[in-house]
Assembly symmetry: C2
Homo-oligomer: 187 residues x 2
DNA sequence: CTGTTATTTCCGTTGTAAGAGAAATTAGAT
DNA sequence: ATCTAATTTCTCTTACAACGGAAATAACAG
């Protein structure tokens, strides 16, 4: 049996897992899910469900469900370990990739349904005579905004990671550069 | 008494409020808060707590607390109505401003505490000898990422709204332009 | 100062989601 | 094919957050 360093033995690591779990709570993902994610993120090698359950002291079934959710967010993936029948899991360790996947997951779960619902509302509103024109206008504004944000987000996903990183690190520089280039292109 | 058009009489409007409330649920804000926000967003004129309670059929105390939360998010504001003793509230109606405030609120509530907690963890981890170096590295990566994201976000907040809108509407164009301008930057 | 109305705080009830453990199902070995 | 081990599904309990209503406080008019 291979000797894995048990990271839950470390204070810092268990603190990290605790905090992460707590934070996950705020984020709408439940504690177990966030804790498992933290554990896998810190782990140097893939872990199986049993190991996770033991390490975190949570029920095996809970681990099963949580893993499924993490996979659906694409924050972890199954990896086959040769000579072992059990499923093993490892986390996405590239933090940028991770950030993007969380953003993507949240958008799919939170923004997209809203956009769709709103479309129906506006359609309905346009046929109605009784509705205050101000209200109609506001709904349309909202719809436009969501559409723009959606397009922007899709666009950003197509940008290769290194460029995205560069872009973010530039911060406001981007704006001033574009001012120059796009705005008053006086050589 | 001034005649307000009762928007809750409209199907589209009440649908909107319903959806919005439901969506708020997904977002971690409770239904009442989201519904009140939707109502105020559609309303052409400021409403007082009583009107809101009646329109949505929720308890007066609930309205009070929800309004407080919405104010803390800066999604609505108190407005004095001359000749009326009651507090009135109106929503921020600029969708971009609204989007920014929500993003800001979530960052403050979700990201910032995490960043802080993480700092403590890493500090602890660096003093520890027992910790797997891989784990330490991962914590540091995470910290770097959060720091970068934080700086980027602050930067974006300083950008004047119209420019921000322009920037988003450009989408990937930004990247290609910068490839040209920034990529070959010497010095 | 007192009565009245608006607002907030407190507390009890209810609804919803997390998590544990048992039971059932699936996959793999011999 | 049968036995064993891993995983998932199901159900029950528990914990927490939302909400309503009552009580308390604050703001204002006369």
């Amino acid at each position: 049996m291979t000797e894995t360093i048990d990271i839950t033995k470390s204070n810092a690591a268990s603190q990290f897992i605790l905090y992460w779990g707590d934070m996950g709570n705020q984020w709408g993902v439940n504690r177990s899910v966030a804790q498992i994610h933290a554990l896998l993120y810190l782990s140097a090698k893939p872990l199986n469900a049993e190991q996770i359950a033991v390490a975190l002291g949570i029920a095996r079934s809970n681990v099963s469900n949580s893993l499924k959710e993490l996979v659906s967010w694409r924050l972890i993936r199954r990896v086959p370990v040769p000579g072992d029948r059990r499923e093993h899991y490892e986390a996405e360790v590239d933090v940028w990739e991770m950030g993007i996947r969380i953003a993507q997951g949240r958008k799919e779960r939170e923004i997209d349904p809203a956009t769709q619902a709103l479309r129906a509302c506006v359609a309905q509103a346009e046929t109605e005579s009784g509705l205050d024109p101000v209200a109609l206008q506001r709904m349309q504004d909202m719809q436009d905004f969501l559409a723009t944000a959606d397009t922007w987000f899709r666009d950003m996903l197509t940008v290769p990671r290194p460029k995205l990183v560069m872009l973010m690190k530039m911060g406001t520089k981007v704006v001033s550069l574009l001012n120059f280039t796009g705005g008053k292109k006086s050589g």
